[in-house]
Amino acid sequence: MAGSIAERVYHLKRSRWSVLAGVLPILSVYVALLVIPMLLLGQFSLYRKLTGEMGQVVLIREVSLANYAKFLASPFYFRILKDTLVMALTVTGLCVLLGYPVAFSLSRARRWKGILYLLVLAPFFVSVVIRTYGWMVILGHNGLVNWLLLASGLVTAPVPLIYNYTGILIGVTHIMLPYMVITLEAVLRKIDRSLIEAAQGLGANPWQAFSRVIFPLSLPGLVAGSLLVFALSVSIFTTPSLMGGGRIHLMSTIIYEETMGQVNWPSGAMLAWVLLVTTLAVLGLSQLAARRFEWRR
């Protein structure tokens, strides 16, 4: 017993060193590439850019809230923020409409389940830029859909389906749908089948069994999937950038445009902070909603 205290101290010290040794390498990467860049972003968002007489870019390293004042005063930026949120909300609604029936069938499937699951996941594993390219090929001026529409005589001239809001909605919904289906299916799968049999045994028709038993029990999945899709849609870049063709701007694309196109880093940094805060607010709210939901149950 004499050695027990010394032994415990030894173990405590050893475990402290083990934790440090395990965590320090990754933390140093995170500090260098996450913490410092985010702080620099905040700092740059308080600077200003001037274009010199020869067209060269001059950075005014003077702290001011001018960029943020510009954002608040500008209907242009405000509309972009609004468009971004409306787009994310619409995509979330579309994912619920398309995803729920598929998740429901998938959760009930017996044969083919593995293959169906793989088919839902397959797009997930194909690069976003390639999937968006696929939609450009399908929806473009000379694309598959316009050929079918023209050939069937439904339209006389190609319908614009890309480089507009419709294109963005189709492309982003396609990227987000697997997230929704998988989140929903995970909840639907766990619903006890005997509950449905009990409901039908008590005289409920299939619709009643669904609307009064299955649907309420699937709400946590619906909430979780919707929040995930909404949060991801708010910040998605590649698809809206290509499908919008520079004609429709969202938060992510305007950040890229201001930073790389206009070489206005302070303005880009300010917009990045706005997007970051928006995203974190959505995630915070969703956390709150999820907790409230748990509590009500």
Partner: protein, 263 residues
């Protein structure tokens, strides 16, 4: 009964349409890659391998592919040990701030790619780091590590620690136990984390687009930039098909050894 089967038929038809929607852009790209006409317009004409030949003759695309592969491999090689060590520390030790730490380690998943992109661009410019392969690798390690931490943590949570005790009581020392018992048991998590890390790096546009220069451009950024400035170029059907086949092979590997449903 009749009503029920009608619902079933409608549900089946709806499912079919959604699966079609999910797979259409992938299928169309693959089919169009064998198209023989000079422009990519429908209806497709004959069958040819001209776009594959065009891809193989395109030095810029091949160079972009090589860069992407090198960056993704280096990212995976760094993210795996970093994530493994951190996951071990979080799983095995109780220390203040443990929950906050694991939340922090997963946080790059929540931050918009463009926000990280401009932040890291400003950081590299401030410290005077020229754009290079390493610039991409470091930035990608940040967005790839969370996947490794998550999959390894999940594997460790399922791992039965009495197996370690058994090995120790049979005389194996700590290192030998970890190597012979623990590591093989969490191999599915490591494999999944590694594949996710590789794909995260290999596919990334929103972050990489800020770090790319005309001479140092990963493949997805190259495709993005060309589509953005020149519109639909048929050569990308061949590039895409090669990448899709490669990725699907990885997915099948993942499904065979790990099981997609467990992720």
């Amino acid at each position: 009964m009749g009503r029920r089967s009608l619902i079933g038929v409608l549900l089946g038809a709806f499912n079919l349409l959604v699966y079609l929607f999910l797979l259409a852009p992938i299928a169309v790209v693959i089919i169009a890659s064998f198209n023989s006409s000079a422009r990519l317009s429908f209806p497709l004409e004959g069958v040819s391998l001209q776009w594959y030949r065009a891809f193989l003759a395109n030095r810029e695309l091949l160079e972009a592919l090589r860069l992407s592969a090198v960056v993704a491999l280096a990212t995976t090689a760094l993210a795996l040990p970093l994530g493994l060590l951190a996951a071990f520390a979080i799983d095995r030790y109780r220390f203040p701030g443990r929950d906050a730490l694991s939340a922090f380690l997963l946080s790059p998943l929540l931050i918009p790619g463009v926000v990280l992109g401009i932040g890291i661009l400003i950081f590299y410019a401030s410290v005077g780091l020229p754009i290079s392969v390493w610039g991409f690798v470091l930035a990608h390690v940040l967005i790839a590590s969370p996947y490794v931490v998550r999959t390894v943590l999940a594997s460790l949570a399922r791992f039965d620690r009495s197996l370690e005790e058994a090995a120790m009581s049979l005389g194996a020392d700590d290192l030998r136990t970890k190597r012979a018992v623990t590591l093989p048991a969490i191999r599915p998590g490591l494999l999944a984390g590694g594949i996710f890390a590789f794909m995260t790096s290999f596919d990334n546009v929103p972050l990489s687009v800020f770090l790319a220069t005309p001479t140092v451009t990963p493949l997805p950024v190259k495709i993005y930039a060309d589509l953005d400035s020149h519109g639909i170029d048929p050569v990308f059907t061949a590039v895409s098909t090669v990448l899709i086949v490669g990725t699907l092979a990885l997915v099948l590997l993942l499904d065979r050894y790990v099981g997609l449903e467990r992720l």
